[in-house]
Amino acid sequence: MVTLLFFASLRESLGSSREQVALPGGNATVSSLVEHLRGRDARWNEVFAPGKSWRVAVNQQMANLATPLKPGDEVAFFPPVTGG
């Protein structure tokens, strides 16, 4: 299992701020997790469609599609940041 976090517009679009999911089988990466999430329904498919602007952090460090995942990881998805 990994913990998923969603922030800002992604949280609102997906109607979820936090959930636990099982990792997809094989050598899980952010990419395989995102493909798994896109399969849930049209909304999830749309939010993570190619070309959509989102960012991902694994265990609170900026990550990318190739970042490997292991059980217990905290995986956060969010839009480009706008603080300051």
């Binding site: 976090l5 922030f7 900026m62 956060a76 480009p80 940041v81 706008t82 603080g83 300051g84």
Partner: protein, 159 residues
């Protein structure tokens, strides 16, 4: 090394800047920046905004940004305070303060921290406009501002 705080409450910029120099006489320069909520953005009146963040990662990202600044310039201390939650126009959002022996380093490091904060620290603004709330979109100008530090790691062209 740096003092980093994420908080709902306002801060006292003067007191925070004084803390950078208290009890020491090796500081010749303190550069600082305060960002505030404006009453208009992109041509829309703004009634207020709400700042969301990623607790834990935010503080860590801000510490890393300050450490990166400390690796690039000889700075003595730094403070970053960023507010979250609801804010109205005129309120302070963020303070960045940097102390060093000489002004060039303090200015460069302070602007660097702000530029990196704008593109790397997990904060998101939702503005309240007459047409309803809207999430602020990231600006490409912020990526450009942050990117110039990569082209010019030592800040040489800038000094």
């Amino acid at each position: 090394m740096a003092t980093v705080r994420v908080q709902a409450a306002d801060f006292d910029a003067g007191a925070e800047l004084e803390a950078l120099t208290r009890g020491r006489a090796d500081v010749g320069a303190v550069a600082s920046f305060v960002g505030l909520v404006r009453d208009a953005n992109d041509g829309q009146p703004i009634r207020g905004m709400t700042l969301e963040h990623y607790p834990g990662m935010t503080e860590q990202a801000l510490q890393e940004i300050c450490a990166e600044a400390g690796g690039r310039w000889k700075i003595l201390d730094a403070v970053v305070i960023h507010r979250v939650g609801p804010l109205v126009p005129g309120e302070r959002i963020v303070l960045v303060g940097v102390s060093s022996a000489h002004r060039g380093e303090a200015f460069a490091a302070c602007e660097f921290i702000m530029d990196y904060l704008k593109t790397r620290a997990p904060f998101w603004k939702r503005e309240d406009t007459p047409g309803g709330p809207r999430w602020v979109e990231a600006r490409s100008s912020d990526d450009t501002a942050a990117g110039r530090w990569d082209e010019d790691p030592a800040g040489a062209a800038k000094r």
